[in-house]
């Protein structure tokens, strides 16, 4: 009997420990005369060839053959790099914006904006959205499926000594015209800054998202350009990340109303 009681008590302790959640530190406030950090992401070298997937399920919706271009480079500039300004405790609200996936997929990452990111993953054409994106911990992510068939959403926290371990966070069917909501808690992420979305049924459906705490981020466009505005004066660290090419960091100091230009260069396929 006492063994049962002991086991039950240990179980309860684990449940209590597990239910704890860290408080989110960022606070939305008015930013008067904020600075802007802008720049370009340069890619030197030859990007890896797109991966071709054929023989996948549901060809009538997804197509018989799909390619996944993991590194998109236009005239030497990298699209899809995530640039994050780290260390901002108080500032602008999250922006309302959409990021469309690569054709022929029509998925998109929709940011509802406001006090949180309010990420909505609008799956369409066998596509969750663009290859790269961002998400915030604690804030629920809504997954929608506008396709006429099922996807199986599998999300991972990317960890391990060399980023080579994908730790399962969620694994669930996403049925047509259904919504599921999932939260990426810091406890589950375990210091991981990268989350991967994948579909167990369609191998080409994969996305990599960088975990951010604030709206001070940008994703480089077709011309490799990025811009982060309304930055309060101060000294920060600017991070540029790409899931295949790795991470670059730079220190940056901004003054009230200032304009700072910074470029990053990625040169080879890291992982």
């Amino acid at each position: 009997m006492w063994k049962v009681v002991t086991v039950a008590m240990i179980w309860c302790c684990l449940a209590i420990l597990g239910s704890g959640r860290a408080a989110m530190g960022y606070e939305v406030a008015n930013v008067a005369n904020g600075a802007t950090i802008a720049g370009k992401i340069v890619f030197a070298g030859t990007p890896p060839a797109p991966r071709v997937f054929d023989g996948q399920k549901d060809p009538e919706v997804c197509g018989k053959e799909r390619t996944l271009t993991r590194v998109v480079v236009n005239e030497g500039f990298l699209k899809g790099a995530v640039i994050v300004l780290e260390g901002v405790a108080k500032g602008k609200p999250f922006a309302r914006q959409n990021f469309r996936g690569e054709l022929p997929g029509e998925g998109e990452f929709h940011h509802g904006g406001g006090s949180g990111l309010s990420l909505e993953v609008r799956t369409k054409g066998c596509n969750f959205g663009p290859f790269t994106g961002v998400l915030t911990p604690h804030d629920p992510v809504r997954f929608l499926n506008h396709d006429p068939m099922r996807h199986t959403l599998h999300t991972f926290a990317v960890g391990g000594e060399k980023g080579g371990v994908l730790r399962t966070l969620h694994n669930r069917h996403l049925n047509p015209d259904r919504v599921i909501e999932r939260t990426f808690e810091e406890g589950d992420l375990r210091k991981s800054r990268v989350v991967r979305f994948a579909c167990n049924r369609h191998d080409f459906m994969q996305n990599w998202l960088y975990v951010v705490e604030t709206p001070y981020f940008s994703i480089s466009d077709e011309k490799g350009q990025f811009a982060i505005d309304q930055v309060p004066p101060g000294r920060y660290q600017l991070v540029a990340w790409h899931p295949i090419l790795g991470l670059r960091k730079k220190e940056v100091t901004v003054e009230e109303g200032g304009q700072v230009e910074l470029n990053f260069t990625f040169s080879r396929a890291g992982r």
């Binding site: 009997m1 006492w2 049962v4 179980w11 309860c12 684990l14 449940a15 420990l17 597990g18 239910s19 399920k57 068939m149 099922r150 199986t152 599998h154 991972f156 391990g160 000594e161 060399k162 080579g164 371990v165 994908l166 730790r167 399962t168 966070l169 969620h170 694994n171 669930r172 069917h173 049925n175 047509p176 808690e185 406890g187 589950d188 375990r190 167990n200 049924r201």
Partner: protein
């Protein structure tokens, strides 16, 4: 221990201990969350690190956690194996299984006995027995770790007999058997293209005494009807604990599994007897020929203890099947099977599976009817 004795002798414990077990069974999944899985993940940290190094040399990433992937015909074990797979959160599976078992000879140890041999010891000898079972079961992915399972069997049994005077007669019993409630816990899984997928699942369940243990039929010995002996009863009459552990693996074309399960009665039933403890080990391998077809081979080892107690209405000296000391034994069955995964229809995954086999070794605490063959067929749909 005085405190433990006080609790054990208390009215509450005597009356509610079985209910407590049910509450524990259902309560554990409710209290489970990802942090518990994280604790286990942490324990596997060293394994993960070495595997990460190994697979990264091949440009691969290692997937870990409590994930489960289906979408292949051999994602489920051969149909005769229960509790072999789990489901994703919110996923529901209904399955119907048909099982038929034929026992057509008597045996003591490994030696076959004639009916005459048996009649030298007992007034009546069973000559053959056929058991047919319709099993309705459902599984629900309760959360990302726990899958709940319920099984309701409908059983019909028929046994032929011969008396010393040469008279033959048949007894029959039919009805619902014992309901089984189980929880399957995804403990851990690792996967990478070069090492395949390996997963560990823990089972914990209870068998509830819903099957009759007072089946009667006409016999020449005590008309109009008398209580039938142990093998002809439909249930155990006791709450049984069903623990189990499963290791499963798969590569692109091949899958395999090893499962050990127990069936352990708590106390004795209201008729004053209890089935013996049973242990089963299943080991199987399957080859996936196409995206929809796989074939399997399975070895199934069964060990059963003799029964405890006896039914006061039966005479163990009259017939071997009423003797609690002649119920145990062990056998090794070899079975071959086929699994078919049909195309999805309206988001429903359909599976059909058949398995057939028989013993390649059996040692029975006889005289006892020996198994000749067993057939499983099942249809499963997953929504």
């Amino acid at each position: 221990m005085k405190g433990a004795e006080l609790v054990r002798n208390s009215y509450f414990w005597k009356v509610y201990k079985r209910k407590f077990a049910v509450i524990l069974l259902l309560g554990l999944p409710l209290s489970w969350n990802s942090s518990h899985a994280a604790v286990l993940d942490g324990m596997m940290g060293g394994v993960e690190e070495s595997l990460e190094v190994r697979v990264s040399k091949k440009g691969e990433k290692l997937t870990v956690g409590n994930f489960y992937t289906a979408e292949r015909p051999d994602a489920h074990a051969p149909i005769g194996v229960m509790g072999d797979h789990t489901h994703n959160e919110g996923e529901f599976m209904f399955s119907y299984r048909y099982m038929q078992m034929y026992m057509g000879h008597n045996q003591n140890g490994t030696t076959d006995l004639s009916v005459g041999d048996v009649l030298q010891q007992f007034m009546i000898a069973p000559t053959e027995m056929t058991t047919k079972m319709h099993m309705f079961s459902s599984m629900l992915g309760f959360n990302k770790t726990v899958t709940l399972m319920a099984m309701l069997p409908y059983v019909s049994k028929s046994m032929n007999h011969q008396t010393r005077s040469g008279q033959t007669f048949t007894t029959d019993a039919e009805g619902f058997g014992d309901i089984k409630l189980s929880s399957l816990w995804r403990l851990y899984a690792v996967s990478a293209p070069s090492i395949g997928t390996h997963r560990l699942v823990f089972n914990f369940g209870l068998s509830l005494p819903t099957g009759s243990i007072t089946e009667t039929d006409q016999t020449p010995m005590s008309p109009p009807e008398s209580i039938l002996p142990f093998p002809m009863q439909l249930g155990a009459g006791t709450v049984n604990i069903l623990p189990g552990l499963l290791y499963g693996g798969e590569t692109e074309r091949i899958s395999w599994g090893l499962q050990a399960v127990g069936d352990l009665p708590i106390g004795e039933n209201k008729r004053g007897w209890a089935v013996g403890d049973s242990y089963f080990v299943n080991g199987w391998g399957a080859y996936r020929w196409t995206n929809w077809l796989s074939t399997s081979a399975r070895l199934n080892w069964q060990w059963k203890a003799n029964y405890d107690g006896r039914d006061p209405a039966t005479n163990p000296n009259m017939i071997q099947t009423a003797n609690p000391e002649l119920q145990g034994g062990q056998r090794l069955n070899a079975l071959g099977g086929i699994n078919i995964l049909f195309p999805e229809w309206m988001e429903v995954e359909n599976r059909l599976a058949i398995e057939f086999g028989g013993p390649i070794y059996q040692y029975l605490n006889g005289p006892q009817l020996g198994l000749d063959w067993v057939l499983f067929a099942g249809y499963q749909f997953v929504k």
